[in-house]
């Protein structure tokens, strides 16, 4: 065996800040630092149509599935615990009970396997995985999910928030509207809204457009969309004097909120002098959003980068990757400090691994 060959660094990452439990194992090449996904396993807690997922039930789901998902991740990677460098877990932001349920299990693994723990910011996980998968050099990042809506640009070792949702996240607006329409949450409410929206397009219903400078607001739009849904059920007519459908509502909601996201992203790009956009987070899977963002970026002579559902939906591999990047700079989380926090700003993280 060549003993001068450096060992690749391997991390296991655990994610459970919302209703997805994800565990992934990543390797970093010792010479090139190239990341390789060794495994990425996820199980989603889906609540019945018309409902959302509550913290207690979600935490219970994560506890019930942790061992299963962890065993699968180890088996898929073909890695032994002794080969790991560290155990990474989502410190926050997110829902309290689900976050803590995963942290308890991660601590137990770290103690059993005698490995260090690394607490990771969920948003930074999305960003670093997006950068790694797409190879985008220094894009403006639009992070959009059920829990977060932020426009981010990197500057001097921080991911700076240039704009964000002032009330609810865009994904939360979509998810809650899916509950109003009582459409299925399987595989995700936003996915089903996207499919319905594709059948719309005949009419654009009037919804408020709420961009406020660099930021945007979605709760008023949701209220109006809910009102329109009630009107629809009562046989109300749209702007063209015809009745309208769920598909028309989904189409109109998407067009409105996505246009808002494109506007605040473009504003940040102009501010920063960038023409590249990286979209991360669950809402980033939406093809219409990617299309609209792509049109804007192309007009500016740039392009859009996006990942597929393995990486844009919450997952454990992004936690492993971001955690390993931090660990390689000497960062670790002492066991006594391995708590979770519901609020954890993206710019609180010192991004030591970048210049």
């Amino acid at each position: 065996m060549d003993t001068t060959k450096k060992k690749r660094r391997i991390a296991l990452g655990c994610e459970g800040s919302a209703n997805k439990l994800g565990i992934g194992i990543i390797a970093h090449d010792p010479e090139t630092n190239e990341p390789t996904v060794l495994s990425n396993v996820r199980h989603t807690f889906v609540s019945p149509p018309g409902t959302g997922f509550l913290p207690k039930d979600t935490a219970q789901h994560h506890r019930a599935f942790f061992v299963r998902v962890a065993k699968q991740a180890l088996a898929n990677a073909g890695v032994r615990p002794s080969e790991l460098d560290c155990i990474c877990y989502t410190r926050g932001p997110g829902m309290g009970a689900p976050l803590t349920s995963v942290a308890v299990a991660a601590r137990t693994l770290a103690l059993l396997w005698d490995k260090e723990l690394v607490g990771v910011n969920h948003c930074v996980g999305h960003i670093e995985m997006g950068r790694a998968i797409t190879g985008a050099a220094n894009p403006v990042v639009l992070y959009v999910s059920g829990g977060n809506t932020q426009v981010i640009a990197y500057a001097e070792q921080r991911y700076r928030i240039f704009g964000e949702a002032l009330d609810i996240a865009v994904g939360n607006c979509l998810d809650r509207f899916a509950r109003t329409l009582e459409i299925s949450n399987d595989p995700a409410p936003g996915y089903n809204i996207e499919q319905l929206a594709k059948k719309g397009g005949r009419v654009l219903l009037d919804l408020p457009y709420a961009v406020k400078g660099m930021d945007c607001s979605f709760s008023g739009i949701l209220t109006r969309a809910d009102e329109l849904a009630a009107m629809m059920k009562a046989g109300g007519k749209g702007p063209d004097g015809e009745t309208f459908t769920q598909a028309d509502l989904c189409f109109s909601l998407q067009e409105t909120v996505f246009a808002m996201l494109v506007e605040i992203t473009e504003r940040a790009m102009a501010h920063v002098g960038s023409n590249q956009v990286l979209i991360v987070g669950g809402v980033g899977c939406n093809e219409r959003l990617q299309e609209m963002m792509g049109a804007m970026a192309a007009e500016r002579g740039g392009s859009v980068y996006a990942t597929d559902e393995r990486f844009c939906i919450d997952n454990g591999i992004m936690i492993a990757h971001a955690g390993l990047l931090a660990y390689e700079t000497g960062f670790k989380t002492p066991l006594e400090e391995s708590t979770c926090t519901q609020r954890f700003r993206t710019d609180e993280v010192f991004v030591k691994w970048r210049k």
Partner: protein
């Protein structure tokens, strides 16, 4: 004075429960202690102390986890203890299925 303080504590948190959970060895009891004591109790109306102890039985080592709960009401006690059991069950399951020797003895490709 000692008697006054303990009386005050008893009246503030009259509902109490002590549990002693046996583990196969002191290493596992210690792992459980360290994993579970990190998170603070969410409510100021609940107090919890955790320690590893020599169990009432025939062992010479700290192979048991003792947890003492004191709460202002029975309802708070019940909620806190049930939540503790949920976390404890997870810790035990992880020990059972994912301890290093358990994983090593399993064939590489089985989930």
């Amino acid at each position: 004075m000692a008697t006054n303080t303990s009386t005050a504590a008893e009246t503030a948190f009259p509902c109490a429960l002590t549990l002693e959970i046996p583990f196969p060895d002191s290493r596992l009891a210690s792992v459980a202690l360290r994993a579970l004591r990190v998170d603070k109790e969410l409510s100021p109306l609940v107090q919890r102390t955790l320690a590893t102890v020599i169990p009432s039985a025939l062992s010479a080592d700290d192979t048991a986890l003792r947890v003492e709960y004191k709460a202002a009401t029975n309802r708070m006690l019940r909620v806190a203890v049930n939540s503790f059991f949920d976390s404890l069950a997870l810790v035990v399951e992880v020990m059972q299925e994912l301890d290093e020797d358990v994983v090593e003895s399993r064939p590489m490709d089985s989930g």
